[in-house]
Each structure stands twice: as C-alpha cells, then as structure tokens.
C-alpha cells in the first residue's frame, strides 16, 4: 500500500497519537524507540489508523516531556537515530499511514545552543533570537500559563544579567519572531523534516509567538502573519502538508487560525471534549449541542480535530466554573486525579471501565464532525496511574501482552522509563493487545470494526451535520450528509433504556441500514420514527433511497 495523493487527506484520517518512548522498546533499555515503533506498525494498520501523530522525539532535557527542545534536527538518543526515524517513516508510508510530528516554534529549551549563545553575552549575534528585558515589568497583565509552577512570565538570567520572556516554564525561553533570522531558521528546521517525508506538523503553543506591549501577547496579527507565511511556503514547496494548530481556546477564537483557508488546515476542538464527558454523565445532550452550535463555520479545506483523551490532562480550561466543579466531582473525586485545571486520567478509568460507555464515547468520536484522534492504549481500555506525578500517569508503557513488562520491553522492570500498569482491573495481565486480539468481542476488535466503518464512508469525515433534536434529551441524534451519502446517528447518553421519536420527514421513503450489521430497518414513513435504545447504545444508519 502507498499513500494516495490527496491534499485533503487529513479530513479523512483516523489519527493515532503516541509517544515513541511509550510504545515499544526494541533494544531492552526500558525506553520505547523508533525501531520498536516500526515493528508495531502492522498493529496500527490493522486497527485502521491512517495517520500517526508523534509527540516530541527531539533531543531534550525532558523537563517538559520533550516540549523543551535542545536540537530541532535530530532524534533523542533514547529513541534511536535519525536513520531509525527515516526507516519508521518509510515503513509507515508503505503501510498507508501518514506521520505528523510536533514542532515547537514558540520556545526552546534553555539548553538549546541558540539560547546558550544568546545568554552568553549581550553582543552575541543570537542575543536577539530571544526576548530580553532589563526589567520584569514589560507586558504587564499577560496571563501565566503554568500557574502551579511559575509566578512570572519573566525569568532572571544571572549570566547576562537580564530578564528573558517565557510563557511556559522558565526553562523554556520564548523565541523572538521579530527577528527575521529566527523565522528563517525555523523554516529551515521544517524543511529538514519535510525533505525527509513527514506529512504534517502540529504547531505547539501557536497563539504566543509574538509579544506586543499593551496586549495579552496572544493571537496577535503578527502571529497570524507568521502562520500564513509558513503555509504559503508549504503550499508552494510541499503541497498537502498539514499544519495543525494547538490553541486551547474557544472555537470562535480558534476560527481566526483557519484564516481564509490560508493558515492552519486543522485545529483541535478543545471545548467539545469535556462536554462529551459531561453529556454522558449528565445523561443530557445539552452540553454537546450548545458547544457545536457555538462552533463557527470554517473554510472548506479546513477541519476540526477531535479527541477524547490525550497525553495531557483532560483540560477544563474551556468550561465554566460550574461545569469544572461538576467534572471534578464526577470524574476526579480523588484530588490526586486533578492537575492544573484538568483531570489526569485515561478514558477507561474515567468510564469506570464500563464497556458500554467506552463504546459510546468512541462512537461519538468517530461520528461527529471532525478528524478523530485515538490516544495510544485507549483502544484496549488501558488504565492510568495518578501516583506517577505530573501527567505521567497517562503515559505508561503500551500493554502488548501478559509477558514481562507487558511485552513493551525486555529490560528489567526497574529500568522502564515508567512502571507498567499492574493493578487487578487495568493491569497488563488483564488488559493487553494480545489477549484482545484473540477474541472477537474485545474492545480492540470492536474498535477495529468501528474505525473500519468510519473509514468506509466519507460522510463521517466530510459530511455536514444536522441535529434532529428529539424531545428526549437523553438521546443525541444527528444526520451527517455528504454528496449522496446520508447517515443517521442516534446515541443514548443515559444509563437506562430509552425510547425516542425522530422527526425524519425530510427523509420519508428512505430505508435505514444499520451500518455494523448491515441490517435493514423499517422504512421512514409519515409519522415520527420510533426507536428504542438500550443503556448507552448507539446506532449508525446509512439512509438509502431504495
């Protein structure tokens, strides 16, 4: 299999997010690597994955899980070599999977040679690659992102005896994009990876690239200009390369990053994710409907990327205080499950390992407008370990089988970068790929069939959305339509059986075909269509005029 030429490939993708470190260790050093990942590509292909999003794998002091990069054109030695990466990339492409990598443009590690030079003297040519000040009073009022760890956006540099600007950790100095040399160098970095064959970049911390006095130093026009310039160069030299924005903001604010289709092609829909969890707990579709109604139209070539869980905490930035309290009370009663303004738990534990709820949430993920992202391990219902500190509890080794170290590594268990999950419910003896591949009713096999159906119909990835709004608010029903394809999705968000009457007058005469079993249901007629759904059950119907 080879990659098909399609500049809109990201619209139809099913993305798998992983950290090389967590996936498979080929050299028994206790840390996952590219060689190990390459060995496991068959697994991802079989799952139906069409794109892999890699978390940072660059050389780094790893004080921020790799988002503190000290060399942009190499691979962290723990994960292998550049040659290993190239081999992985080629293998992924051969299996029909594209690769998206992280690009941290806003800041570097303070261990990056650029910063070392910049701080070495005020006369150094790279001095102006970062944002310096004689005082810590510039840009007053700019919010601090990591309020748990930082007290100011300025940090004192004892070497050059001045302050440098950092929106994130103080060991992550912000680059100065007012200096054209910075942009030129960063573009060079991107070209480096593009020439190797990567298919897209997730640009980290995009809103913060440029600073201006009297502003919050976020979402500035100059930042958009930088994005447009990158996109222009990509379209010219590397058409079809994905630019994915990380902007944890309200959809209306993120909308600007799509521009007129000349900035990012994709951005995460952050507020949708907590509302999916909320809707299932509340047993009411209201939160989902409300946020999607607030979501603006985006240019034809653009796409929202949606997800249930990822490598960070389940962020509760984009919810009200009342909603945040509710989420904490329902999903993180134990305070050790909370971090920053979010919840550091995986999908399965948050669902109390209730298979029906896990399926419902994945069904929503795969049927709602946007490109779905599956976080590694969630396809088998992996658990978490909130006692590992920071967000490391959701970054434990992938559980391949019930052998030593869950089949992740042949190293002594003590050498693993993190302990495998080994409790009675989510431990690798009970939850692993090998055992789930053996029986067809496992979560893994179910996920495969779900993704297979999703991949077979472009209506899911590109179709318009129309809510049906039945009077039963425990039921979320919507029509997806694209070209000649029409799909009806009906979800029971509640823990009890529900009856629902759907107004499908517009589709009178259509025959609903249940998409997993291909069974025919009674034709739509003149009266509201009555359906009954078991607890957390959902239906996907292909609507055909036969």
């Amino acid at each position: 299999m080879t990659l098909q030429r399609d500049n809109l490939w990201y619209k139809d993708a099913v993305i798998y997010q992983l950290h090389v470190r967590t996936f498979c260790d080929s050299n028994a050093d206790g840390i996952g690597d590219f060689a190990g990942l390459t060995q496991r590509l068959g697994y991802l292909q079989e799952l139906g994955i069409t794109a892999i999003w890699l978390l940072p794998f660059y050389p780094s002091p790893l004080r921020d899980d790799g988002y503190d990069i000290s060399d942009y054109t190499s691979v962290h030695s723990s994960y292998g070599s550049l040659e290993d990466f190239k081999a992985f990339l080629t293998a992924a492409h051969i299996r029909g999977m594209r690769v998206i990598i992280e690009m941290v443009l806003n800041h570097t590690s303070d261990q990056h040679p650029w910063f070392k030079e910049a701080r070495s003297s005020r006369e150094n040519p790279k001095r102006d690659w970062y944002v310096w000040s004689e005082t810590d009073n510039r840009y007053p009022g700019v919010p601090i992102v990591f309020v748990d760890a930082e007290t100011s956006n300025w940090a004192w540099d004892p070497i050059s005896k001045s302050y440098y600007w950092h929106r994130f950790f103080s060991h992550q100095p912000d680059l100065n994009y007012d200096n054209p040399a910075v942009f030129g160098t960063v573009w060079g970095v991107m070209k480096f990876w593009l020439d190797l064959g990567v298919d897209g970049f997730r640009l980290d911390a995009v809103p913060y690239l440029v600073e201006r006095e009297g502003t919050l130093c976020e979402n500035l026009p100059e930042t958009h200009a930088i994005v447009r310039e990158i996109r222009k160069r990509l379209d010219l030299a590397y058409p079809g390369t994905l630019l994915l924005a990380e902007a944890n903001q309200w959809p209306a604010d993120v909308r600007a990053y799509f521009g007129d289709g000349d900035e990012f092609q994709a951005a995460f829909h952050f507020p949708l994710m907590p509302r999916i969890f909320m809707a299932v707990k509340l047993e009411d579709r209201k939160p989902i409907i409300e946020i999607l109604e607030q979501t603006p139209e985006i240019p034809e070539s653009c796409q929202w990327f949606i997800f249930l869980r990822n490598h960070d905490e389940l962020t509760l930035e984009m919810v009200t205080d009342i909603e945040r309290d509710y989420m904490y009370d329902e999903y993180a009663m134990d305070k050790s499950m909370r971090i920053n303004r979010g919840i550091r738990r995986r999908l399965a534990p948050m669902m109390n390992n209730d298979r029906r709820r896990i399926e419902l949430l994945n069904g929503l993920l795969m049927s709602m407008p946007g490109t779905p992202i599956v976080y590694y391990g969630d396809e088998i219902g992996m658990g978490d370990n909130v006692y590992l500190g920071d967000r490391n509890g959701v970054r434990t080794p992938m559980q391949w089988n019930s052998a030593l170290n869950a089949g992740f590594s042949m190293a002594d268990p003590e050498r693993l970068y993190a302990p495998v999950i080994s409790n009675a419910v989510y431990g690798y003896q009970a939850v692993n790929v090998d055992s789930q591949e053996r029986f067809e009713h496992s979560l893994l096999c179910w996920m495969k069939s779900l993704i297979q159906v999703r991949n077979a119909f472009r209506v899911f990835s590109r179709g318009a959305l129309q809510f049906l709004n039945p009077s039963n608010h425990r039921v979320l029903a919507y029509i997806r339509q694209f070209g000649g394809e029409t799909v009806l999705v009906v979800n029971n968000l509640s823990s009890s059986a529900q009856a629902v009457e759907l107004d499908v007058q517009a589709y009178k005469g259509y025959v609903p075909i249940e998409m997993f079993g291909r069974n025919l249901f009674p034709r739509f007629g003149n009266v509201p269509y009555l359906l009954t759904l078991g607890p957390y059950q959902f239906y996907w119907f292909q609507l055909r005029r036969i």
């Binding site: 047993e283 009342i322 709004n469 039963n472 608010h473 009457e501």
Partner: protein, 433 residues
C-alpha cells in the same frame, strides 16, 4: 378503568422524553394563563441559580379552551413554550442539563384537584425526588421562593413543605381563627397555611397521596391542599414550614362570597376530619413543625372592613337560620349564641370558648350529616361573621405580638375542648330528614 388512564397519551409521550428527574415544579395556568410565561421564566431562573446540576422539569396544567380558562383577561395559554433547547439563560449561570417543560391539558372541567392529581402522577412516573407546586398568578413568585420550597425536600429529606408569609394583621382571619387552630388541635398539625397555592413535597408523599381513594370527592376536587398537608402530617411524613415573604393577594377561588369560601375551606377541613378520622380521634397533642426562617410576620395597615355591617349580618343570619342552627348546635351552645345576639354591638364579644364549641358542634353535625352538608356550612357563615366582628374589635389596637399571644390562647382552647369534639363525633345522633 378510567381512573387508571387519566393521563393523556400526549402527556405520556412527553414524559417518555423527560425520564427520571430530581426536581419537578408544577404550575396550573387554569386561573392565570396570561402569567404562565413569567412563572416559567422564574422557575427556570430558580433552576439555573440553585439547581444547575439537577434533572429538572416544569409541568404546566393548562386549559384546552377559553371556556375553561378562568383568567380575568380571557387570554388562554394551553401550553408553555416547548423550545427546550432555548431555556432562558442567566448571565454567567447556565444549567448543565436541559430544563424540561411538559404541558398537560385538563380532560374534564379544570379543577385544583385534577391539576394536583396530574402533577402527583407525573412526579410518581418521573420518580421526582422533590416537587414544588406554585401558582403562576402569585405576583411575588421568585426564584428564591421556589428554591425554598424545594430545598428542605431535596436536601433535608423533608416530605412536605408549607409556606409561611408576612401577613397584614387582618389578612387571613379565617386561617387565624378557624383553620389553623382547629387543624392544629384536631390533627396535631402545626402547619399554618393549609390552603396555600404554594407547597413542596417529596416523591414519596406524592406517591402516597396519588394512591388514596379520594380523587372523586368534591372536597378534593375543589381544594386538595389542606388534605395533602393533613395527610402528610397525620401519616408521619416529615413536615416543615418555610418563610416565603409577603403573601400575594388571593388570586383564585370564590372571592368575597363567604359561604363559598367556607364551603371550600371549612368544608374541606370537616371532610378531612372524616377522611382522616383514625389519625386524630384517639390522638394526642399537637406537635410543633420545624420552621425555616421567621415563624410568621404581621404588618399593621389601615383596614376598610365595615364592622357594623358584619355585625348586622351576624345578627340577622343567626335569627334567620335559627331552625337550622338548632339542629346543628348543642342546645346549650345554641342558647348561648342566641343570648349574645341580643348584646349591643359595642359590648359584643364572641368568646373563644363558645367559638370553639360552636365549631366542634358544626364539625360533628357535618360528620353525622344531620342536615345537608352544604347547609351546615352555609349556616356557619353568620357565626363566622360574629367571630370576625369580635376579633376586629378586640384587636383594633393590638400589636403583632399581642395578636400572636391571643392566637396561641385560641389554639389552646381548641385543644382543651378536643374531648368535646370527640364525644360529639362518636355520639349516635338522630338524623333529621
């Protein structure tokens, strides 16, 4: 069979969409359809301010046609706005869940009894934990008052919540001089406002009341409120009172027709005595009811009551109804009544002891149906006027505290004479044809 299917298919279909709820607020737009919009908005605000997480529903009992609507301006609102996706949103406060709205229509001539029965049935079917019933015509309906009715049920596990109000000192004289002290003495039920349009109750109590065989009774059809309160108290449901502020003017009912007022209130109370006989006949003393907020506040305002006319109506009524009163009252009581009729107005006083004995005679005669029960109630009207005249004269200059003390003494008198009621209640009597 008809009883089993008194909920319409349309209502059941709406309930199917709502599912289980935590809180239910019922309103009947029968008497004030034009104010239903404001009431619904106020209830939504209560939910959004105080119950953002709970599963909630508003149930409106509306009229099907203008003929059945009893609103002054004739505007008919048979249903509330069902655009449930668009609940009123308060700035910065939004319910996490949908605020469901359900409309039910009267299938027969509307009445408070049918409205309550429907709301009870809905509460039972939806497994509501706490229910509040409010009147859309209540001009001072606020989110706070709704929350105050629901909270004791939802959070404190009470089963029945009766309201308390600020009252003008001459407002609610029937409650003060008859309904409250008599129900307190007989049933031991220290609930002041037995006949309020507002109340709260638990799903448990709703289910209990729904299953009582009373719904075809005229007393329940007209005024089911007191029966519900008395049922709650006398069946060991946990009852309390909450202070709701100012009492809005009476918005429904018989208006100034005192006979009709008595028929609906005292008649219902007498009927309750019969219906709940087993709970009081051999019962003990009254129990205090926990109260949240001030127990009761009185205000003093000028009154335009025509005391002289009231006295004249007392006199003429007692004289005209003498044959009927003789069949209702114990001879001794009747004799005393006749003697006070002749007292000049300035010196006239209807003593508590006589008033209580009179009422107990009426209750017993109502029970024994010595004459047509409607006539029994009708005959009470002049005597109530006499008591009212006496009260107005006695308390023309009383402070609220003095009036409260007097009311407590009246209550004590009712309790003191309860054996007299019991005796007369149990006595065999000859029914006059």
């Amino acid at each position: 069979m008809a009883d089993d299917t008194f909920l319409s298919d349309d209502l059941l279909r709406q309930l199917m969409s709502v599912g289980e709820v935590d809180l239910l607020v019922g309103i009947s737009s029968q008497f004030a359809p034009s104010t239903i919009g404001h009431a619904v908005q106020t209830i939504e605000q209560a939910f959004q301010q105080y119950f953002v997480r709970q599963r909630v529903v508003i149930v409106n009992m509306g009229c099907d046609d203008q003929e059945h609507s009893q609103d002054g301006d004739g505007v008919v609102a048979t249903s509330i706005d069902n655009s449930q996706e668009k609940n009123v949103r308060l700035p910065g406060i939004v319910s996490l869940r949908t605020i469901h709205q359900v409309s039910a229509k009267f299938s027969s001539p509307p009445s408070p009894g049918i409205a309550l029965r429907t709301i009870l049935a809905v509460a039972d079917l939806l497994r509501a934990r706490a229910v509040a019933v409010v009147s859309p015509a209540t001009s001072n309906l606020t989110p706070d008052s709704i929350a105050n009715l629901l909270r004791p049920i939802y959070q404190e596990k009470f089963d029945f919540v009766a309201p308390l109000f600020i009252r003008h000192k001459y407002q609610g004289l029937l409650v003060r001089n008859l309904l409250y002290p008599m129900s307190r003495a007989v049933f031991g039920c220290g609930i002041r406002e037995l006949y309020s349009d507002e109340r709260g109750f638990s799903g448990r109590l709703a289910g209990y009341c729904l299953n009582q065989e009373v719904w075809q009774e005229e007393a329940i059809r007209l005024r089911p409120e007191a029966w519900m309160a008395i049922s709650a108290f006398s069946s060991d449901f946990r009852c309390c009172q909450v202070f709701l502020g100012e009492k809005s003017p009476a918005t429904r009912g018989p208006g100034t027709d005192i006979v009709e007022v008595l028929r609906q209130t005292v008649g219902t109370l007498f009927w309750c005595l019969e219906n709940r006989e087993s709970s009081w006949l051999d019962g003990g003393k009254s129990q205090p009811v926990p109260t949240f907020g001030p127990s009761q506040e009185l205000t003093s305002e000028p009154t335009d009551l025509d005391r002289h006319r009231i006295f004249e109506m007392f006199r003429s009524g007692v004289t005209e109804l003498e044959p009927i009163l003789s069949s209702i009252l114990d001879p001794e009581t009747h004799s005393e009544i006749k003697s006070i009729v002749s007292i000049e107005e300035a010196k006239f006083r209807f003593k508590s002891e006589l008033w209580v004995r009179t009422l107990y005679d009426f209750a017993a005669s109502y029970h024994h149906a010595v004459i047509n029960r409607n006539h029994v109630i009708q005959a009470l009207a002049p005597l109530y006027r006499g008591m009212t005249h006496s009260f107005l004269a006695e308390h023309a200059n009383s402070s609220p505290a003095e009036m409260e003390a007097a009311n407590e003494m009246l209550c004590a008198e009712f309790e003191l004479q309860k054996p007299y009621l019991t005796e007369r209640w149990k006595a065999r009597v000859e029914v006059k044809s």
